[in-house]
């Protein structure tokens, strides 16, 4: 293994298909029109010296190092800013160029500390490399002149340092922040010799609006911006390409290693989802992998009130297996089940559902998509025949109109959010439908054309009103509808949405959005060119989540915004492998590839391969399991990598369900909140410690590569294999690639997927099979899997969670950039510096009415329960609406959420809870009790103590 060094072509690739022929250093070359001379030269293997150029950034032409001579042209133009031209004859190395470059380099070096031996960038410094490239042998100016050596290092950011003494003012960091990230947090302050990089209003990095994405650090050619881990450890010596374990964007990274120690995660330019960009989580927040709270030994206990007892793997596995057998013998086959994890690999998820179906003999398997994107699966399968988004991320580059509903991409999917912002800066129009003023509504150089700040719970009404405008104003794409959709279903739908009660003027009364705004948004979506819809959990986590997905699909069908780049219906998946977990048969009614368990053909495939008869009945969903547990018929559960006590609604009910079970097996990195109710704890492994694959929101299957030994001893897939074997359902795999081979053998949409194929192509998007050997970046080109696109009537049904005198405000929950889901990982990193606790956003008007001031403790009270947290008074939320995150167990926001759920999938209605706010002195009695209970539950008798 060696360090992967990607080629830097100096400037971005041109998208032109027209080729230009020119001569560089006597060699005839062809390059797409618009390509820089620098890139054309690099494509042929000639590296022109450079410092301010980088192929992630637009050319800038400031360093004066990349000069070339062009026959027939005066002077020595910069090769980065000069495009190729037909017949051009270029020389990259002449006596004049050599002298000029040396002179420039002398000036740089005369104001640069010569501490190369102790510098963090030693061995990976472009200044050092280019000094060598230009043949610098002396600095005639000496080092005694004016310089910047006394400037003070900024170490305020938890992950990187800014050392101005080493800055060559190449502007790469500033441009990366603007062009790649789109935050515009950096600038060059001062003029001439006083020019320096300055975050925000010349503040420390941490206090500025910097979002710590790392683009500036990556762009820096010297040690000016350096990872603290690199400074501490030293230069890496080998690397492996792997996939981030946060969010559904699925960024590809190089895990840069020294031995088995991770030095840094560097975004991989060839990553098809992220194209070399990253966010604060994937780039920096991996410290949880070695956090002191990680559990590395298996543990068991008879009662949840007992302390944990460390045991051998054999004892833990055998104990869990014997308990499940005992429970099934006592209470019946259907009395146990399990939960797969969207944080685990496809292979691990596949094995857990295989264990449940094959060893437990029932279909009581579910996954955390139950509480996030299960309505997406239902809705898109109904409308288009396939349970997945229609586009790849690159598609956004061809969008003219972007409609974002119930999603906050700059926080939840930040790397894609940056790409979206880039397209918006290029001129695409933006419609935001969200109760909150998310950052996209107004962010540097981006302003939503229309923000429909609707009342929480009225998505269906608004989308049907948009459909009303499209139909009644004659904006339907009739040719598309005629060719691709069922005519009768369309007629029914068109008549339905045309009813006056669906007009914007009527809907405005319930949704709180002015009718003219709805009409304008509808016209823009239908007539603005390529229109794409991006949505998130603000769509799905409602009692009408599935109806909303169907309403979105209706809009795309009616306007013909499907089946080509720039359009489509794009669910932004929350966790890294939500798509994969759903694909792998994690739902109680479906095998891998979304085939119903009653499908005799599909069942026969698995019965043949697994060697057991399989249940043809749908199993229990997570909320059904918990209800059945409270009722006394569901007694045991195997939970891999999920923390339902914190992530699922109505915490008291979840706790009651778990407490009623006789065997709860939790497999995780940490003693999470659910483990408070566990009898067996099986320590899990991180994504750095195992091989596998994740599938991102664009159906892209990507490799996860093991870069260090599992600290717990085993990959999670090996633990499931051991448990299955102990249950008497043998599994034999030597490597996760063999699990993928079985998936490919048994799942038509994955038939062409193998580790060899992924290694060769980098990634593929399913379906990948004989019909689509290279995968499917954009779906539904020319037709739908189900034949015709299906229009579905979407009657608005108000949620039963109503506000009233006791609970007059509506709570909606979400996530923040620096944290991930329940925070189990990110809370164990320096990311807590940005968000140490969950806060309650409340409008100034509502705060004033209740005498609540910014930063004060408030009690958040609903019909389900109460908790306390600090208030953040902001007009980001509308009057009558409050918002919080669910990242911290000390808050347990889900104590107040209810068990209302989506009609089709039981996805919880996290986004609408009627609440009241009042002033408080501090944590509630329940929070204090919970803290004590959690502490008691986490007591461990270590194996040495036990032996004594």
């Amino acid at each position: 293994m060696s360090l992967i060094n990607e080629v830097d072509y100096g400037t971005p690739a041109s998208r032109s298909e027209k080729l230009v022929t020119l001569t560089i250093d006597g060699v005839e070359v062809r390059a797409p029109e618009g390509t820089s001379i620098m890139r054309a030269a690099m494509e042929m293997g000639t590296e022109i010296p450079k410092l301010c150029a980088n192929d992630m950034l637009e050319p800038f032409g400031s360093c004066r190092l990349c000069l070339v001579e062009i026959e027939g042209r005066n002077g020595t133009p910069a090769s980065c800013t000069t495009p190729v031209a037909p017949g051009m004859v270029v020389k990259t190395q002449t006596e004049r160029l050599k002298a000029l470059r040396k002179g420039v380099m002398e000036l740089y070096i005369s104001d640069h500390p010569l501490d190369c031996l102790t510098c963090a960038a030693n061995g990976d410094c472009e200044l050092q490399t280019q000094a060598g490239a230009v043949g610098l042998r002396q600095v005639r100016y000496g080092y005694e002149g004016a310089n910047h050596f006394d400037e003070v290092k900024d170490e305020s950011n938890p992950y990187f340092t800014y050392d101005p003494t080493k800055c060559i003012v190449c502007n790469r960091c500033v441009r990366a922040c603007e062009e790649v990230q789109g935050t515009f947090a950096l600038t060059i302050d001062g003029r001439g010799f006083k020019s320096r990089v300055a975050p925000g209003q010349d503040e420390p990095f941490f206090e500025s609006e910097c979002v710590s994405c790392g683009a500036c650090v990556q762009a820096c050619p010297t040690a000016t911006l350096s990872e603290k881990s690199l400074i501490s450890i030293g230069q890496p010596e080998h690397s492996a390409v792997t996939t981030c374990a946060y969010c559904g964007v699925g960024c590809t990274f190089k895990a840069e290693m020294r031995g088995e120690e991770l030095v840094r995660m560097v975004p991989f330019k060839d990553g098809k989802a992220n194209h070399g960009h990253s966010c604060v989580k994937g780039r920096f927040a991996w410290g949880y992998a070695t956090h002191k709270e990680r559990i590395l030994s298996p543990m068991i206990r008879a009662k949840v009130s007992d302390p944990w007892r460390e045991v051998s793997w054999e004892e833990a596995i055998n104990h869990a297996a014997s308990e499940f057998k005992r429970i099934q013998a006592t209470y019946g086959k259907r009395s146990v089940g399990g939960i797969t994890s969207s944080r685990c690999t496809n292979e691990e998820t596949y094995l857990v559902q295989k264990l449940i179906r094959g060893a437990f003999g029932n279909n009581n398997v579910d996954t955390c998509a139950r509480v996030c994107h299960s309505p997406t699966g239902y809705g898109l399968k109904t409308a288009f025949g396939t349970s997945a988004g229609t586009q790849d991320f690159d598609s956004v580059e061809d969008s003219d109109v972007i409609l974002v509903i119930g999603a906050n991409p700059t926080d939840g999917h930040p790397v894609f959010g940056s790409r979206m912002k880039k397209r918006l800066r290029q001129g695409a129009k933006l419609i935001v439908i969200d109760p909150r003023r998310i950052d996209l509504v107004r962010t540097p150089h981006v302003k939503a054309d229309y923000h429909l700040a609707l009342q929480p719970g009225t998505n269906v009404a608004i989308l049907t009103a948009i459909a009303h405008v499209i139909v009644t104003e004659g904006l339907v794409n009739e040719a598309f509808v005629r060719e691709r959709c069922d005519a009768e279903e369309f007629q029914d739908w068109a008549a339905f949405v045309s009813e006056p009660r669906h007009s914007p003027e009527e809907v405005a009364k319930v949704a709180g959005v002015p009718a003219e705004l709805i009409r304008a948004a509808a016209r823009l979506y239908a007539t603005g060119g390529n229109a794409a819809i991006y949505y998130g959990l603000g769509v799905t986590e409602h009692s009408q989540g599935s109806t909303t997905v169907l309403a979105i699909a209706n809009l795309a069908l009616a306007t013909g915004n499907l089946g080509r780049p720039g359009v489509g219906v794009n669910p932004l998946r929350g966790q890294n492998n939500v798509q994969g977990a759903c694909d792998m048969g994690s739902f109680p009614h479906e095998f891998a590839g979304y085939r119903h368990v009653s499908d005799d053909t599909a069942r026969a495939i698995y019965e043949g391969v697994w060697g057991v008869a399989l249940d043809n009945e749908p199993g229990l969903r997570i909320p059904n399991m918990l209800d059945s547990a409270v009722e006394g018929t569901f007694k045991g559960i195997y939970i891999q990598g999920e923390d339902i006590l914190q992530s699922d609604p109505d915490t008291h009910h979840v706790a009651a369900g778990l407490a009623a079970m006789e065997c709860v097996v939790v497999q995780d990195l940490f003693l999470n909140e659910t483990a408070n109710y566990a009898h067996v704890f099986l320590p899990g492994s991180t994504f750095l410690e195992k091989d596998g694959t994740f599938t991102n929101a664009e159906r892209r299957i990507q490799r996860v590569r093991k870069v260090m030994s599992p600290k717990n001893g085993f990959g999670d897939w090996e633990i499931t294999v051991a448990l299955s074997n102990a249950l008497g359902f043998p599994m034999n795999y030597a490597h996760p690639s063999e699990i993928m081979d079985e998936i490919a053998r048994t799942t038509p949409s994955f038939a062409g997927v193998s580790y060899a194929r992924l290694d060769e192509a980098g990634s593929v998007q399913w379906p990948c099979n004989e019909a689509h050997p290279d995968g499917t970046p954009i779906m539904h080109i020319g037709g739908f899997a189900s034949g015709k696109g299906k229009f579905v009537l979407t009657e608005y049904v108000a949620t039963d969670e109503r506000t009233g005198p006791r609970f007059p405000l509506l709570l909606t929950t979400g996530r923040i950039l620096s944290h991930y889901n329940v925070g189990a990982q990110t809370r164990r990193t320096e990311n807590v510096a940005w968000h140490p606790e969950d806060l309650l956003e409340i409008h100034p008007h509502d705060a004033e009415q209740r005498g609540v001031r910014d930063g004060e403790w408030v009690k958040l009270h609903s019909r389900a329960g109460e908790t306390t947290l600090r208030a953040l008074v902001t007009d980001r939320v509308a009057p009558g609406v409050v918002y919080t995150t669910f990242h911290h167990p000390t808050t347990q926001a889900n104590v107040v959420t209810t068990d209302f759920s989506d009609w089709a999938t039981n996805c919880p209605e996290f986004k609408v809870t009627a609440v009241q706010i009042s002033r408080s002195n501090g944590p509630s009695d329940w929070q204090e009790q919970y803290r004590e209970q959690a502490e008691q539950s986490r007591r461990i008798v270590h194996s040495i103590e036990a032996a004594e």
Binding site: P588, D615, T905
Partner: protein, 88 residues
């Protein structure tokens, strides 16, 4: 699961399909229950209907009746047996 909760869930499903033509709606609700509800849940809602089906919306009542008449190859499981699962 308590009958009240099942009744609530079934009526929720019914409200979605109620916008459709009558026969389509009844078939849609019944199909949904058959596809997504665990046999023990179906058994309980069928038992509730046998006792009059109080609380079920009219459309849902019809759908549950239809569900009861569906010719499942898996009726043994609906009846509460796990005989169709021949796992070792």
């Amino acid at each position: 699961m308590s009958p009240d909760k099942l009744i609530y869930m079934a009526n929720q499903i019914g409200k979605f399909f109620s916008a459709q033509r009558h026969d389509q709606a009844v078939a849609g609700i019944a199909d949904h229950l058959a596809k997504f509800w665990d046999p023990s849940m179906r058994k309980k809602i069928l038992a509730h209907l046998e006792h009059g089906g109080e609380g079920l919306d009219p459309l849902v009542k019809e759908a549950v009746q239809k569900l009861g008449m569906m010719n499942f190859s898996r009726t043994d499981v609906v009846a509460g047996s796990a005989a169709s699962v021949a796992n070792s």
